[in-house]
């Protein structure tokens, strides 16, 4: 049986602010926004082309807002990805080179941190 890692809960303090950030600035698609009750709201967001999504909301996670530090997305062109994010107003780092790829970093309004990686060429 497949066990697909398809959803990561991201702890945020202000769901509307975070939803606006992830959709209009980070460029994620808004898949769902369901308010089940006063205590439960489920907002699912997916980076374009990704098989894995994030969830923000109320009653979604008891982790401290901003405590997620290690989300990583893979892109084909780090400079273009950086330009896209910066063009939509995301405060994104300069491109940093590591042996395992080229990276930029950004954070959401609560301080949850994301890395964007362009993989190094596979052929030597």
């Amino acid at each position: 049986m497949d066990w697909k890692l398809e959803l990561v809960a991201i702890p945020v303090s202000d769901v509307d602010r975070a939803k606006a950030f992830y959709t209009t600035q980070a460029g994620f698609d808004a898949d769902h926004d369901h308010t089940i009750s006063d205590e439960i709201r489920f907002v699912q967001l997916t980076p374009p082309g990704s098989a894995c999504s994030i969830a923000i909301g109320k009653g979604v996670t008891d982790a401290q807002p901003g405590s997620v530090q290690g989300m990583q997305m893979v892109v084909s062109d780090i400079e273009a990805a950086r330009a896209e994010l910066a063009g939509r107003g995301v405060e994104v780092s300069d491109v940093q080179e590591f042996p395992w790829g080229s990276f930029v970093f950004f954070a959401d309004p609560d301080g949850n941190r994301w890395a964007v990686q362009q993989l190094p060429p596979r052929n030597e």
Partner: protein, 141 residues
Amino acid sequence: MDFKLELVLLPVSDVDRAKAFYTDNVGFALDVDHQPNDEFRVVQMTPPGSACSITIGIGITDAEPGTYRGTHLVVSDIEAARAELVERGVEVGEVRHFDREKGEWRPGPDPEHGDYMSFADFADPDGNTWVLQEVNFGKGT
């Protein structure tokens, strides 16, 4: 351009213990275990059939161990998945589903096996929590 969410860095306090848990008990495949020096280690593991992986290690995240909550693993048969985990020694909560009419959690899988309706919970040795969720019952692999 695609932005593929492919990696989640999980904060753990004991890398070997967590690696053993995720590979031997949970059944993730070990992709990479790379340690160039004492301050840096990357252990990447992937759930079977998943497009997204997890990484644990040293010097990769400053998040507090055990603070990641509610990461979801989608399976096609939640009772079989739970049984598999229990057999390998993982403490998994009972399967539960959300009764939309009553607006409350009920024991057992959703009677209709509706997508995203049935859940079961477990935690790693540091307390990072996971949720099994059933999708495509009777149709998946």
